[in-house]
Structures are given as C-alpha cells and as structure tokens.
C-alpha cells in the first residue's frame, strides 16, 4: 500500500502539489527559454505554438514560476537552514557519490546536499526573475538603460544554464536514491528508507525508536 500509516509522512499533500506545480512550470519555462538560448534549440518553439507565442509565453511562465517557487521557498526555507553537520556532510560528498556512506554525518530531514541545492535554486530564481524583468521587452525594458538590458541578458542566460544544470542534478539524485521520487509523489516513506538516508529525521519522527 502506498500510504501505509506505518510509513513516515515526509511531504504533505500541499507540499507535493506545490513541488510538482513548480516542476511543471520549470519545464515550460526551461523549454521555452532554451529556444532563445541558442539556435540549436529554436525548434522547441514548436511546442508552444511558434516563435512569437514562445516569446509571449516565456515571461509569464517566469511569473508563474515566481509564485510557485516562491511558495516552495517559504514552505521549506526553515527546514533548509544549513547546520555545521550539513557542512560536514558536504565535505564528504565525494565519498557519498562514490557509493560509500560510512563517513557521512547523520542527515536530518534534508541532507547538506539537498539544502545547498535549495539555496542555489533560490539564488538562481532570484537572478532569473530580476534579470527577466529587465529583458521583458514588451512591458519593462524601456524603463532601463540599454547597458543594463545587456547585462541582464547575460545574467539571465547564465543563471538559466546553472538552474538547468542544478535541475538535472536534482532529478538524477532523486532517481539514484531509490524511493525518493515515491516520497515526493505519495508523501510517505518506509521507515527503513528514512533510517538509511535521513537517520536524524528518522529518530525525530519515531521518538528514537530503533
């Protein structure tokens, strides 16, 4: 059973809905944005009804992203405060990637890598939104000097590339760590999973049992 009450609640229905809404908008924003990134990707405009529609829609995907990601940010920011244990975790991240978790400090609800990723997402989003306003020609660009628009164009492209790289990493980490996609889909995780990947959170949830 997917939602056996013996399992531990990791993400509430609202958290899951917010996450997947953000994920969907991310794909819309990334695919439409890539079409302006390099001519190689321009055919992606066909997914959105052609070049003009893609140009019209992309900034509005950005606005939707601001709202949806903004929701996630405030929902999760408290849980993503980086602690000394997280820094220690990050120092051992190479061992973790190599498949050796013996020296990893006990992770709480989120490990150091997840927390770092959270703040990098937030930083990229902030850069994308701010630069995106400056280069939104239809409504805002005329408010800014051309040199600011040029700088914003570079910042927007760079932050977008970093954001896409982070998302590739995020998706892979979720595939690599078995059952974590289930956690975001269905909300609950097996106690064994929690004990394995987030021991400190496991203890907190079970009151120290096992």
């Amino acid at each position: 059973m997917k939602n056996d009450p013996k399992k531990l609640l990791r993400f509430t229905p609202m958290e899951r809905a917010n996450h997947w809404l953000t994920a969907i908008i991310f794909f819309l924003a990334a695919l439409s944005g890539l079409s302006f990134f390099h001519p190689f990707f321009f055919p992606l405009t066909q997914l959105f009804g052609g070049g003009v529609w893609t140009r019209i829609l992309h900034p509005f995907f950005g606005v939707a992203m601001l709202l949806s990601f903004g929701g996630m940010f405030f929902r999760f920011k408290q849980q993503n405060v980086i602690t000394p244990a997280d820094r220690e975790w990050l120092r051992h991240v190479r061992e973790m990637a190599g498949g050796d978790d013996r020296n990893m400090p006990e992770a709480g609800k989120f490990n150091g890598g997840q927390k770092l990723l959270f703040w990098l997402f937030a930083a990229c989003m902030a850069l994308l939104i701010l630069s995106g306003i400056v280069i939104w020609r239809a409504y805002f660009s005329f408010l800014f000097p051309v040199e600011a628009v040029r700088v914003a164009s570079v910042v927007h492209a760079a932050a977008a590339a970093v954001m896409i790289a982070l998302i590739i990493f995020h998706i892979y980490a979720a595939i690599w760590t078995r059952e974590s996609i289930d956690a975001m889909l269905y909300g609950r995780v097996r106690r064994a999973w929690a004990r394995q990947h987030h021991p400190a959170w496991f203890r907190q949830m079970t009151g120290g049992e096992k």
Binding site: H38, P39, F42, G51, I135, V154, A165, W176
Partner: protein
C-alpha cells in the same frame, strides 16, 4: 524585406551557410552633413516609398519631428545647435540604421532568418520571421530598431533593399535636393567622401573627416562630418561604436559550450548510475525493518 535571396552573407540564429552564391558589390549611402539643409525631404521620401505613416505629433519647440525614430519613421533629422571654435553651428544629421558590417542586431537575434545581411552590406529585417523579443534593440550600438506597438515586430531602415535590388538608389538619396545623400559602391563613396573632406579642410574645417567606424567593421551608411573628431556633437553619434562586450559574451562561444556541458551532465549522471549503481537501503537496515514492506 527584399527580393534578394542568393547573396546572403549572414542570417540571424543560423549556424550553417545561407545561400550566398551570388556576389554583389558593397554599397554605401553617404550622408554629407555639411551639405544638409534639414529640409526633411528624405524623411518624407522614406515614408512615401515604404508606405509607412507616423502619427501626427506635437510641436516640441524644435525642428526635430518626430522627436525619435519610430516603427514608422525609419529615418529622422537630428538638429543640434553647437558652439564650436567657429561660433554657433547648426548641425543636422540624418539618423537611421548604419548597416554595420558587424551588425549587433543580427548577432543578438534569436529567430532564424529574422535579420539578414546581404553581400552588398545591407542589413535587413525580415519581419515575418521576427518574434518581437527586442534582442536586436539590445544588440544595436546605435539605438536604431523600434518595436511596433501595432504588431510586435521590429522595424528600421532597409536602405531601400528592394530598390537597390533592382538597381535604384534609396528613396532618401533619390529625393535629396542638395546632393547631401549620395549612393554607390563603397569604394566610390569613400573616394567621393575624401574629395568632400578635402574641400571642407580647405575651407577651414581642420577636423573634417569620414565616419565609417571600424569598431563595427565599418558601416554601409557613412557620414562626412565637419568635426569628425567630435561625432558626439551630432546628437550623440557614438565616437567609437562597437558591439557591446556584454552582447558578445551573451551570444558568444559560452552558450554552445554550456549546452554541451548540460548534455555532458545528463550523460555523466547516466554513467554514474551504471557504474556506481543506485543508492539503496542497506540489507542490514532492511532486516531490521522486515516487518514493514
């Protein structure tokens, strides 16, 4: 837009060669500022030939009308009253697209074929391919392209590419009553301009010169200026224009490299998976929790 199709030197957002078998002579429109009387016949001729009509504006107390380039006014006369060593001078510059050899607009454009450069040097917008993003405005070192509020497309001087294609001179050159605008091959125009500069120098304009800025690879609209050392006095004509370093960075090699890096990231993840395997719950812990499945 124009009739030419086999002599395309560059095409926006296109990484393979465009049809370029046909080779035409490089052309230039030479604007001799010292001969201009500011009659605006060129402005009228431009609208007449291109069938664009600007809104009737209001008088701002100066001759400039309209006050700026628009999607309908592809050329405007810029009037500057300037104190020089010769006293008060009234400098009148016909502003419009310079048709750069290294066009920042074309470099910035993300829409394939929305901007082309013909082998004769004309940089032409193909509005049916334009997506209205305004990146050309960001790329242009001369602040020329104008986004139309009517259709969301960008417009600018075509150097009458349609007329030039059939052996005619641009409408503005055709109509200019003082011969301040002349049109021909780049070589001929430089030769003509040199004669004009020599004449101006003989009449006391020691700094007279040709405006053909190398920062953008030279232009296909050139000026003869009485004070070529101070182009800024001609309503802010840039002294040493070039495609901004930011635009070069934005449109340079970094993006294809970043695209490869992203692709490499995906491959890297896949090969990490097949070499290191998934990150699963250990057997030991599974045993501890075997009651739960």
């Amino acid at each position: 837009m124009a009739l030419q199709s086999l002599d395309i030197t560059r095409r926006s957002a296109t990484t393979t060669p465009s049809p370029s078998q046909r080779k035409t002579q490089e052309v230039v429109k030479l604007i001799d500022v010292s001969k201009c009387i500011g009659c605006k016949a060129c402005q009228a001729a431009c609208m007449e030939w291109n069938d664009t009509r600007d809104k009737i504006g209001t008088n701002h107390g100066v001759l400039d009308n309209p006050m700026d380039l628009t999607a309908n006014s592809w050329t405007v006369m810029r009037y500057s009253e300037v104190e020089t060593g010769r006293g008060l001078e009234w400098l009148i510059r016909k502003d419009g697209c310079m048709h750069c050899a290294d066009p920042g607009c074309l470099k910035a454009c993300p829409a394939p074929g929305a901007i082309v450069q013909y082998s004769n040097g004309i940089v032409d917008f193909q509005e049916e391919n334009c997506i209205g993003c305004g990146y050309c405005i960001t790329g242009c070192p001369f602040n020329i392209p104008r986004l139309s509020g009517k259709d969301g497309k960008v417009y600018k001087c075509t150097l009458c590419s349609d007329r030039v294609a059939v052996g005619l001179e641009p409408a503005c050159a055709k109509t200019c009553p003082t011969g301040a605008i002349v049109f021909g091959t780049k070589d001929d125009m430089i030769h003509h301009a040199e004669g004009r500069v020599a004449d101006l120098k003989s009449r006391g304009f020691a700094e007279a010169g040709i405006y053909d800025p190398l920062g953008v690879g030279g232009t296909h609209v050139m000026y003869v200026l009485q004070h070529a050392d101070k182009p800024g006095i001609y309503h802010g004509l840039p002294k040493d224009p070039s495609v901004s370093a930011m635009v070069t960075l934005w449109k340079g090699a970094v993006k294809p490299i970043a695209s490869f890096a992203l692709a490499a990231g995906v491959f890297g993840a896949f090969f990490h998976y097949v070499t290191k395997g998934p990150n699963e719950v250990s057997e030991e812990i599974e045993k501890e929790f075997k009651d739960e499945k």
